[in-house]
């Protein structure tokens, strides 16, 4: 990046450049499979292959039919609605309960801390197939199988460990003197909570909420077991697009989601830079 210090020996220089090549290769490995999806989503035939026409860049080999299918198909419209609906409510439940629990767990007087922490993280530890099977049997018994509520509860349970972990991590660095200071200045516990604690833990809460949202949005195993057709989510549609019918529409959906994610991440970064500029804080 910056020019290398002049005192580095030759092996060190070689290592420096090798290191950057390795990192570049890893980044390529991460991104390349995603890039492959984009041209495949314009495939003219309903297969997940690069046809000869496509490789020759023949315009006949390309078509927008899958994007068309995605936007007009009732299945996909329902899937998008369900995905957003379920992920939204699951995230709200897991963020709320998770943050509350983290606040309680981080208090030094919390009894049985390690045991309870283990229980709360268990949804992340238990292999997904077991969670899905267990929830399938249990929810069937109590009549929640095949309902929106059932899927929302299941996803909320799967998302809480992420919230708990990120918020407790944020709270370990929390300086309790700030609470005492605010109380000594006359603030009630509620005011302290909202005006001192919340702003400081917000980054951790949002980070956890994002993990929980993604967990629910991308979750396929549990929703296949616990849900029914009415709760079909985007991953459900994609799964059936790979197995039951060969439908590159899932690639169109994926490309759109990738574009959406890039847009969102870029916006966040630009906002962050703007806040920095306004505050006059220099980045570390």
């Amino acid at each position: 990046m910056n020019s290398l210090p002049p005192y580095l020996s030759i092996p060190e220089r070689i290592w420096h450049y090798t290191f950057w090549i390795i990192c570049g290769a890893v980044l390529f490995f991460l991104i390349f499979p995603l890039l492959v999806i984009v041209p495949l989503s314009f495939n003219e035939v309903p297969f997940f292959t690069f046809t000869k026409k496509m490789l020759a860049f023949d315009p006949d080999g390309y078509s927008l039919q899958w994007y068309n299918d995605f936007f007009t198909s009732l299945n996909w419209q329902g899937a998008v609605r369900n995905s957003v609906f379920i992920a939204f409510f699951a995230t709200i439940i897991s963020t709320f309960l998770g943050t509350l629990a983290s606040l309680g767990l981080s208090r030094p007087q919390m009894p049985y801390r390690t045991l309870i922490m283990s229980l709360l993280i268990s949804p992340m530890i238990v292999p997904l197939i077991i969670s899905a099977a267990g929830m399938f049997f249990f929810y069937s018994r109590i009549g929640l199988q095949g309902t929106h509520l059932g899927v929302i509860l299941a996803h909320a349970a799967l998302g809480t460990p992420f919230v708990v972990i990120t918020v407790t991590a944020t709270l370990t660095g929390f300086d309790n003197n700030l609470i005492r200071a605010s109380q000594s200045l006359g603030a009630t516990p509620t005011t302290t909570f909202f005006k001192v604690i919340v702003p400081l833990i917000t980054p951790g809460v949002i980070s956890g909420a994002l993990f929980a949202f993604v967990t629910s949005f991308d979750e396929v195993v549990v929703v296949l077991f616990v849900g029914s057709y009415k709760q079909r989510t985007i991953p459900w549609q994609m799964f059936s697009g790979i197995r039951e019918q060969i439908s590159p529409t899932i690639l169109a959906a994926a490309t759109l989601l990738i574009l959406l994610t890039i847009a969102m991440l870029t916006t966040l970064e630009l906002l962050r830079r703007r806040t920095e500029r306004l505050r006059g804080v220099t980045p570390s």
Binding site: V45, P46, F47, F85, I142, Q145, G146
Partner: protein, 364 residues
């Protein structure tokens, strides 16, 4: 922040209502297998029915693959959300025995044949269970890449011939059908195949034959996989349901040819879950969807044979492609020179056992 909370709550409430407020029409949930098959049912049965009965809305659920497990779970929960399920005959027998689906009086519930025969006469032997309403005859058979073989494949034993036909094969990840084909190609007389399979020696014989091609086999679990593999050229020959091969050859124009030798017939049909919420409407729909003309109509969209004898002469041309469908039916005499009928008794008894052995063999 107060504004924000207010807006969020409002959105949430509206979203809730959006989902709570269902349509005024009756919704029938019909469970099937997805892809071209569901599309053919949509075109031949659901769409015409909905046109005639505007108060009914038919919803397609593609989870027939896990239907048995889900039906059991729904019974336990006391909340059956499905109205009609498309099931293969063996599953229908299992579900019927467990009391999860209704017994049907075929003569009163279904329409008489257009040639005057009663429903039971028209469907004949295909009514393998009192709960089963036959719909189509389909077969599991092979398709191969015309352009990747030195000469056309004519016998199912060509699949086991790696010298003349090198390359990968795709077979279903189940012992069903594979064991029978292995034995037939190892010299066992087709009429004795199931007797031989009942013995341990017979099972070993079948596995030994399959061992000769094992390293070259890609195992599929869903019907869409073999067409994908054939189109990619990943496999030279692969087994799947004949309707999928028809779509691959005629609609997607891939260079694939059919290998009908020793195709295995099976039946697919409708079953009515007990505890379904719209029984009267479902039975009305069934009467329409299984009459002579409808079954013949389905053949316009997919190459599966209608189970009614009265429908056979009405099978016409493909709705989109305009080609005559009769020669593509598994029941057509040209295709049906050598066939096996799925042995329900045998597999009902031995499926669990052979399945465990098959999976152990796969792992070796």
């Amino acid at each position: 922040m107060n504004n924000f909370m207010r807006n969020m709550t409002a959105t949430a409430v509206i979203a809730m209502f959006g989902f709570a407020g269902q349509a005024m029409s009756t919704e029938l949930v019909v469970v099937s297998w997805g892809g071209a098959y569901t599309a053919s049912q949509q075109n031949a049965y659901h769409a015409p029915y909905m046109k005639k009965n505007p108060g009914i809305k038919i919803i397609n659920d593609d989870s027939a693959g896990s239907a048995v497990a889900k039906l059991r779970a729904m019974k336990q929960a006391g909340n059956t959300t499905w109205d009609l399920v498309d099931a293969v005959a063996s599953d229908a027998m299992m579900l019927c025995d467990e009391g999860l689906i209704d017994e049907i009086d075929h003569d009163s519930a279904l329409a008489a044949g257009a040639d005057g025969s009663s429903a039971t006469e028209d469907f004949g032997d295909f009514i393998v269970s009192p709960c089963f309403i036959p719909q189509i005859v389909y077969s599991t058979t092979f398709g191969y890449r015309k352009d990747k073989v030195s000469k056309p494949m004519t016998s199912v034993c060509d699949v086991f011939d790696l010298k003349t036909f090198p390359g990968k094969r795709s077979l279903e990840k189940k012992p069903i059908n594979n064991m029978e084909w292995a034995l037939i190609c190892d010299g066992v007389s087709p009429s004795k195949v199931y007797d031989v399979l009942e013995t341990d020696a017979g099972v070993s014989q079948a596995f030994a034959k399959l061992d000769t091609i094992k390293s070259k086999v890609v195992w599929w679990t869903a019907g869409a996989q073999t067409p994908q593999l054939l189109a990619d050229g990943e496999v030279v020959v692969g087994s799947t349901y004949n309707g999928r091969l028809f779509a691959l050859i005629e609609e997607q124009k891939q260079p694939v040819a059919m290998l009908w030798d020793w195709q295995v017939f099976d039946l697919d049909g409708w079953v009515v879950p007990t505890g379904g919420k719209n029984k009267a409407e479902t039975m009305k729909y069934l009467k329409f969807a299984t009459d002579t003309q409808r079954l013949a109509d389905q053949a316009k969209f997919i190459s599966y044979g209608p189970t009614r004898a009265s429908s056979a002469p009405l099978v016409g041309k493909h709705a989109k492609l305009g080609i005559a469908m009769a020669p593509h039916m598994p029941t057509d005499p040209n295709n049906a020179k050598t066939t096996l009928l799925f042995n329900y008794e045998f597999w009902a008894d031995n499926r669990d056992d052979l399945d465990a052995k098959f999976n152990a063999w796969l792992l070796k």
